[in-house]
């Protein structure tokens, strides 16, 4: 029989013992072996550990209560895994093996998931194309000469290529939603503080959030059920009650009573025609399903990218100070003094984008520039939050394209940081305001590259975002489209 590929079917089949967790795990490992050479989606494959874990689950008598029993899962390489190397795709953490698991890892394993490996990303999650990995770029399963987006490009590509049913990523300015859009899968960034960040290698702590990639909204909700909730190890995690996200999905896909806000004023320039057409068609679908479409204005959205790059780099310069060649990872060996050791370890261990951002972040926090850049950016951040608050008085969710373009070519934007940063123009707002956001497939370009549709919602109203996305997904078949990797890539 064909093995099931979605979360619920895998779990149900393993519970009923139609298949074993070991068989499902071996199938995932086989597919990773067949496809990872061209895609470079995985940094590390935890073969023995995964098979041993699957065998252990098969031997349990009471596995039926586990919501992710036997589901193979991949983790972005900035999530700490005890005993599995965790590098954040940086040289400075080459060979680093964490002594502890991130809270999300513990929760997934407690729910019966099987971790099969760690996925490639932009170094320390800084980038929009996965080209900033110290270990080579990941390639887009839909077109091997194009990027999967970033920074969680490996996780997005792994799900798109069917290597795993589910993967986790992190999203600081769009790093789950943008690669989900470019790879044609579902990617969900929960509300800020909805999921514990304990064990996530921090990039920008006021913005970072962990979330799932999946091939359907339903699967994303099942994973969110497991990873959401307060954690004593992360003092910023929310104490708010966690609803059953699966139960909140739309059932028959009815959107009557839902108001969808569309900030058309942001789409006047810079959005590809194919993307705009797919977006407009998607909005029509939601209207036919009963949603009321309303105009909203996000006045300060044009400033969101510069605000984001000031705040995110400032926080990164502080968070990355810990990589100093003492406690973990790489150390330059030819230094005579302590400060020389710091300088050389960091100079050689970090890649160019990380160094560029640490310098920018250090500069905007330095004496004489703090008020003009950092404090000013925090004030404009307040205005951006207020814009969303106002928009959410007349709309329940806001719809935008996830990315202004489909997947771009490898190397196309690497020489121009500002051009690369503009990939995130529609996603950074949700991070600055702490909102939940989802990207799901809504069509293809003329050259058959996936296009993503984004919904964002009010803080901690993650269930509403999932419900609207689920209703759209039910009304269309875009989420069922898969790249022709099996035939093309194995040739």
């Amino acid at each position: 029989m064909d093995l099931p590929t979605d979360v619920r079917s895998i779990r149900d089949a393993v519970v009923k013992r139609d298949v074993s967790a070991v068989e499902v795990c071996q199938a995932a490992l086989d597919r990773i072996d067949a496809l990872n050479a061209p895609l470079n989606a995985f940094r590390a494959i935890a073969r023995e550990r995964a098979l041993a874990r699957a065998a252990e689950l098969d031997g349990r008598r009471h596995g039926a209560s586990l919501p992710l029993l036997g589901v193979p899962i991949a983790l972005k390489d900035n999530l700490c895994t005890r005993g599995i190397p965790t590098t954040a795709s940086s040289r400075i953490l080459e060979n680093y093996v964490p002594p502890y698991d991130a809270t999300v890892v513990k929760r997934l394993e407690a729910a019966g998931a099987v971790i099969v490996g760690k996925t490639n990303c932009d170094e320390f999650a800084m980038g929009s194309s996965t080209e900033n990995s110290a270990y080579g770029p990941t390639r887009n399963p839909w077109a091997l000469d194009r990027t999967p987006g970033g920074s969680s490009g490996g996780s997005a590509a792994a799900v798109a290529a069917g290597m795993v049913a589910v993967a986790l990523g992190s999203d600081t300015g769009g790093s789950i939603r943008q690669p989900a859009a470019l790879c044609g899968v579902v990617g969900f960034k929960p509300s800020y503080a909805r999921v514990s960040r304990y064990g996530l290698l921090a990039f920008a702590s006021s913005l970072d959030q962990i979330g799932p990639f999946a091939s359907s909204v339903c699967d994303a909700a099942l994973v969110l059920n497991v990873i959401a909730g307060h954690d004593a190890c992360d003092a910023t995690s929310s104490q708010a009650a966690v609803p059953d996200f699966s139960a909140a999905l739309s059932g028959e896909g009815d959107l009557r009573g839902i108001r969808i806000g569309v900030p058309r004023h942001l789409f006047r320039e810079g959005v590809d025609r194919d993307v705009m057409q797919a977006f407009d068609a998607a909005i029509e679908v939601t209207r036919h399903r009963g949603a009321e479409i309303v105009d909203v204005t996000l006045e300060h959205s044009p400033e969101a990218i510069p605000v984001y790059y000031v705040i995110a780099t400032a926080e990164a310069s502080a968070n990355l100070a810990r990589y100093d060649g003492v406690r973990y990872g790489f150390r330059a060996k030819d230094a005579a003094t302590l400060t020389e050791m710091y300088d050389r370890t960091r100079g050689r261990g970090f890649g160019r984008e990380v160094k560029r951002r640490v310098i920018l972040g250090t500069y905007v926090l330095s004496a004489g520039y703090y008020d003009a850049y950092y404090r000013k950016a925090q004030q404009v951040r307040t205005l951006i939050r207020r814009d969303y608050d106002r928009a959410f008085t007349s709309a329940d969710v806001i719809a935008m394209p996830t990315s202004p373009t489909a997947a771009f070519k490898l190397g196309e934007r690497t020489d121009d940081p500002v051009q690369m940063y503009l990939s995130d123009v529609f996603t950074v707002g949700a991070n600055l305001a702490g909102l939940p956001g989802i990207s799901l497939p809504c069509g293809f370009t003329a050259t058959r590259l996936p296009i993503g549709l984004q919904f964002t919602g009010r803080v901690l109203e993650d269930a509403t975002v999932l419900r609207v996305a689920h209703a759209y997904e039910r009304a269309t078949s875009w989420s069922k489209e898969r790249p022709p990797v099996a035939s093309e890539l194995s040739r």
């Binding site: 004593a232 929310s238 160019r352 310098i359 404009v380 940081p417």
Partner: protein, 98 residues
């Protein structure tokens, strides 16, 4: 204000950030950071008098009782360090004082 980021600025900030850069990187970053800052300066046009800054997107971090909980054993904490010296329970670093 219009900022030009010079090679000297790059060197000054790289010292603060404890980053050794190659000559090529210094020139590259001076050029690119000038471009990035020129782009970032559009936020200066936004009036923000009396607007309070936002430092994070969530609620204020919750306080907890100061109770002792187990932490990682020292040997495990030391295991990943390039200068770890498990026999003393310390990290070794190059000479600090001459």
């Amino acid at each position: 204000m219009s900022t030009t980021f010079s090679r000297g600025d790059v060197e000054r900030v790289a010292r603060l950030a404890r980053l050794e850069l190659t000559a090529e990187e210094k020139d590259l970053f001076a050029r690119q950071l000038t471009g990035i800052l020129a782009y970032a300066e559009q936020i200066q046009r936004v009036p923000t008098d009396d607007i309070e800054p936002t430092s994070h997107a969530g609620d204020a971090a919750a306080l907890r009782d100061d109770t002792l909980i187990p932490s990682l054993p020292r040997e495990e904490s030391l295991a990943a360090g390039p200068g770890a010296d498990p026999s003393t329970g310390l990290f070794k670093v190059p000479r600090v004082l001459g």
